[in-house]
Amino acid sequence: MMTSPILTARNLVKTYTQRSGKFGLGSHSFRALDEVSISLSAGSTLAVVGESGSGKSTLARCLLQLLPLDSGEVLFEGRNLATLSSAALRQERRNLQMVFQDPFASLNPRMKIGEIVAEGLLIHGMGNADERRERVLQMLKRVGLQEADMQKYPHQFSGGQRQRIGIARALVLQPKVVVCDEPVSALDVSIQAQILLLLKDLQQEMALSYVFISHDLRVVRHIADEVVVMHQGKVVEQGAVEAIYAAPQHAYTQNLLNSIPGRRAAAA
C-alpha cells in the first residue's frame, strides 16, 4: 500500500524554555522535538507512539503549523507550509484538521453543536447558509448524531458523543489529512471500539490520511499501517506496524511492547 507521501516532516526541531530552580527563577531550554522526520502515505494511517512527555502532542501541533518550529520543514503535497503566504496557509488549513483527546476542552461550551461543526465552513467561506446547514447535518448523521442534536450544547453529551462531534467538526471540511491526538484515550473500551471503527470507515469513504497519536499499543496495532516510536523527543524506530510489533529493533520499543498488559497471558 505504498503510495506517495501526502505529508512529510523533515528534521523538525522544537525547543521549549522551562523555568527551573527552587523558585522558578532560572530557566533552561530543552528539545521537545529533536530532528524528527516522518512521512505519511496518502490514504494510510501513521501512528505515533511513545510515553507521556515524549513529544507526541508537540509533533501534532508542529505538523499543523499551530506551533512555530525552530528548524525543519513540513511538506503537504510537496509544498513547504512555512513558505506559504498567510492567505495560502489559511486555504491549506482546510485540508489539515485535528481531533483532540479531550473533546470537551476543545468544544466551546457556549456554542450549540450545529454552530461548532459549522464554524470551519464559515471561516473558509464554504457554501451559503442553507448549504452549510445541510453539510453539517449530513456530517453529524454520518458520525451517529441526530438533527435535534444541532440545537444542544456540549455538556449535554457523553464523552463518546463529544468525540463524535469533534470528528464531525474536523471532517465537515473534507480535509485530506487528519491528525488525531489520543482520540480514544479517555473513552471506555466499548466506546473506543465504536470510535475506532468510525474513524476507519470514514477513512475509506473520504480517502483520509491519518496521523494517529496514542500511547496505547493495542489500539495502534489495530488502526495503524505504519508506526513511529518516539522517546524523549527523538524518533527511535519507524516502519510497518506488523514488522515493528513482530521484531522491534530498538531496546526502547522492545520494552514498550513487552509492557503491553495482557500480552503475557495471551502468549501463554
Binding site: E51, S52, D188, V189, S190, Q192, A193, Q194, L196, L197, H215, D216, L217, R218, V219, R221, H222, V241, E242, Y245, N255, L256, L257, N258, S259, I260, P261, G262, R263, R264, A265, A266
Partner: protein
C-alpha cells in the same frame, strides 16, 4: 479456610434517591495471597464497591444491605474508630491519583512513617529503618526519604503510595485503578511489584481496573460489573477464555488485542438488553478452588 474477605449482597444507594441502586447485590470472595479483580466500564460501581468495603462511602450514599466479613469479622457493625484501626493496620489502600493522595508539604519519608508510628508505635531509629526498608522494597533509593512529592515522577509517587499502604503489612490491599494514570512501562513495573509483594506477604488483593489486559496479567478471580451488578464471577481463565454472560462476551469483543488479529466488535446495547440475564456464578466458586 476462612476467606480473607467475603462480600455478600452488598447494595449501595444514594440517600436522596434510595430506589436507585448504584451497587446492587454484589457478592464475591477473596482468599489470602490471591488477587480478585473487579472489572467494568466507568460508572459500573467498581469504586463504590471498594469504598463500601473500606467503610468510606460518602455521606450522600448509604449501604442498605449486605454483609462484609474480613478475616471472619463483620465490618458493617463496627464503629468508626474500630474501622479506622482496621483500615490503617490490616487493610491497605491505593488510589489512581498519587498526587492528590500525598501531602505536598511533607517529605515522603514522613508520610510513609506515619502509619508506622500511628498503628505500630514505631519511633526514632526503628521508624527510620523501617521507612528505608519500605522504600527499598518499592524500588526507590532510601536516601530519597527526604524528597517532597513534587520532586518525584508519577511512577515514583505511586510507589510511595504503595509503600505507605503496605507499611503495616496489611493482610489485604485494595487498589482502585492504581496504574491507570501511568505509562505502560511504569504500569508493568508496578504490577510486577504488587504481584511480588502479594506473594511475599501472602497478602490478598482486591484490584479494580477497567483494563482486561491488566486483569489477564494479575487476577486469580474476576468480578465483572455492569450497571452496579455483578454479571459474571469466576476464575480468570474462565472469565477471559470462556465467558458466559452476554455482556462479558460483548465487552471482551471491544478490547483490541496486542497482535491485531481480532476484529473489534462494538457493543450493541439494544441487543444486549434483550438477552436473558444469565445469573452470575455463585461466590462459592473460588472457595471450592484450591487456595
Amino acid at each position: 479456610m476462612t476467606p480473607l474477605l467475603q462480600v455478600d449482597g452488598l447494595t449501595v444507594v444514594p440517600r436522596a434517591a434510595p430506589e436507585r441502586c448504584l451497587v446492587s447485590d454484589v457478592s464475591f470472595t477473596l482468599q489470602p495471597g490471591k488477587t480478585t479483580c473487579v472489572v467494568g466500564e466507568s460508572g459500573s460501581g467498581k469504586s463504590l464497591t471498594a469504598l463500601a468495603v473500606m467503610g468510606l462511602l460518602s455521606r450522600q450514599l448509604q449501604r442498605t444491605q449486605g454483609s462484609i466479613r474480613f478475616q471472619g469479622q463483620e465490618l458493617t457493625t463496627l464503629d468508626a474508630e474500630a474501622m479506622r484501626r482496621i483500615r490503617g493496620r490490616s487493610i491497605g489502600m491505593i488510589f489512581q491519583e498519587p498526587m492528590t493522595s500525598l501531602n505536598p508539604v511533607l517529605t515522603i519519608g514522613h508520610q510513609i512513617g506515619e502509619p508506622l508510628s500511628v498503628h505500630l508505635g514505631l519511633r526514632g531509629r526503628a521508624l527510620q529503618a523501617r521507612v528505608a526498608g519500605l522504600l527499598q522494597q518499592v524500588g526507590i533509593p532510601p536516601e530519597r526519604a527526604n524528597s517532597y512529592p513534587d520532586e518525584l515522577s508519577g511512577g515514583q509517587r505511586q510507589r510511595v503510595m504503595i509503600a505507605m499502604s503496605i507499611a503495616c503489612e496489611p493482610a489485604m490491599l485494595i487498589a482502585d485503578e492504581p496504574t491507570t494514570a501511568l505509562d505502560v512501562t511504569v504500569q508493568a513495573q508496578i504490577l510486577r511489584l504488587l504481584d511480588e509483594l502479594k506473594t511475599r506477604m501472602n497478602m490478598g488483593m482486591l484490584f479494580i481496573t477497567h483494563d482486561f489486559g491488566v486483569v489477564a496479567d494479575i487476577a486469580d478471580d474476576v468480578v465483572v460489573m455492569f450497571r452496579g451488578e455483578v454479571v459474571e464471577y469466576g476464575s480468570v481463565d474462565q472469565v477471559l477464555n470462556r465467558p458466559q454472560h452476554p455482556y462479558t462476551k460483548a465487552l471482551l469483543a471491544c478490547v483490541p488485542d496486542a497482535d491485531g488479529k481480532k476484529p473489534l466488535l462494538p457493543i450493541d446495547y439494544a441487543w444486549l438488553e434483550q438477552q436473558p440475564a444469565t445469573t452470575a456464578a455463585s461466590p462459592q466458586h473460588s472457595m471450592s478452588e484450591p487456595a
